[in-house]
Symmetry: C2
Subunit: 313 residues, 2 copies
Amino acid sequence: MTTLIDVARRAGVSKSTVSNVIRGSVFVSAKTRGRVEQAVRETGYRPNIIARSLKSRASSTIGVIVPDLRNPFFADLSVSIEEVAYELGYAVLTANTECLPSAEANAGRALIERRVDGVIVAGISLDSSLPVNLLDHDIPTILVTLSGLDDSRFGVIDHDDESAMEAVVDHLYQLGHRRLAFAWLPVPEHAGERRRQGMEAALARRGLMPVRIDDGPTAIVGHNDIQAIATIDRLERAGLDVPRDVSVVGYDDVPLAAHQRIALTTVRSDAAALARRAFELLVNAARAGRHVAYREIQPNPLVIRRTTGSAPR
Amino acid sequence: MTTLIDVARRAGVSKSTVSNVIRGSVFVSAKTRGRVEQAVRETGYRPNIIARSLKSRASSTIGVIVPDLRNPFFADLSVSIEEVAYELGYAVLTANTECLPSAEANAGRALIERRVDGVIVAGISLDSSLPVNLLDHDIPTILVTLSGLDDSRFGVIDHDDESAMEAVVDHLYQLGHRRLAFAWLPVPEHAGERRRQGMEAALARRGLMPVRIDDGPTAIVGHNDIQAIATIDRLERAGLDVPRDVSVVGYDDVPLAAHQRIALTTVRSDAAALARRAFELLVNAARAGRHVAYREIQPNPLVIRRTTGSAPR
DNA sequence: CTGAAAGCGCTTACAG
DNA sequence: CTGAAAGCGCTTACAG
């Protein structure tokens, strides 16, 4: 592959000069610049970012850790991060972990070894040491849809699950539901745990306790939309009707939730907005060579559709 | 961050020796190895893969270009690639392009500049020069669910859309459908184009022509499941019933297709298998320093569910 | 079995 | 405005 030297030789200048015109950082005379640009064109030269990174100590790459990329919410988040990232010349290394500690460890190692300029964590197992580990390796780290990790060096862009769960429970309570269950992933993960707690707290305020999912709930609150949609499938295969027999609520408002045949009542979360905000904060911190150390919590509205109805009597 | 030198100093050996134990490539005495390993542990040293890459001319990173990561088929593909990749010490740089030429150009530049060891292209706009460009930069490139690009240096892992479309048309024809339309993305993309052509050919064999989607088809074949599911939504919002009034067929068999409320007739494509095969071939080529130059076509079965029925009369 | 030396392809002060 | 020199953190023959 052609290198800076090839270009320099061809243009009859030094490699410093070629570097200067390519990065556009220093003033170069129009004539020299022209010669260099032509040489670049003729050779099809593309700078080797690996070499640049080694010297400049910035990889122009960020890492994104997601628990489940097959969930459109995380796909949306990750794609939205990518969009803004590529615009600013960053590439993104994605790692899908399913909250498996071994996958998380692998991902962490890969990101640290590649000296990513920052990482966005959108889900991690409950007692993972990875996020703090990143911080300790001087990698700015931002937690998205995830809080409860207590280090002030983190950036946190989160939504308010607690008040969202209050709205969900209120909605169901008003429809007459008293037997609510929470359907969550088999993985101990932050967002799920927090939503479960939020629901329990909202129930407690009404003098209620959650029931187990197999204990005949009249309403089921899913950890997320995918979970809720799968719950509908399970219920209807068992001969029950949603919402006549059981109401179901999701979380995220993925595009499918609005589909005629699904029409899921859910909490709307704007993955793209979360992504953009997180990336912006992360890049600013990375460029300044500091941690993000900033928190922001946004409210999420309840979207009522047709999977919730009056409690059966 | 600690470097090889720090570890070497601490262990009282040279950096060559540290390098040797870390890579495990050369025989090192147990005693020396022990000292080095302890120093690594004490310092929390993680090798800088950027520096390694520069010297060894292998980035241990591959690129994946997908047209739409929000489509669970591509999410599955990309996650499956990642799984095998991380196992072998590779990281993956994902680029979601939506078949936009500008996004494709950005992604191509980013991957070339980062000297990825190979790339898997799972969708690209019809006349993109990117795939050949990668090849010309000596980057082994494999096309997945995509053929028609005529360079023998490509690897191609594909499925047989033509015979799948024959099966789809046969199924609908036997149900009495004569007015079939194809619903596809607004983007000129390979897989969509090829499926459209496959359907047209199958119709032609029966003396039929496709009708336009607004021309009252009794059956609509989607470019993929997401397209088909969106079509169902559109039809039912317009007061039509699927399949009573219109039958709908998808492609991919994403998990949602099997959902009670969707029950989509579709063509099954195994993203995970495709991904594993592609990665395996790619890595072998990359390590051997050659192009993949290999093609493999697999058949895809039709899965009949409940979105197809007898043609209305 | 271990170490000294060169070099991967850039960037970055610093002279001139 | 342009260039020579040093160096980023590794790997890789090659001696010893």
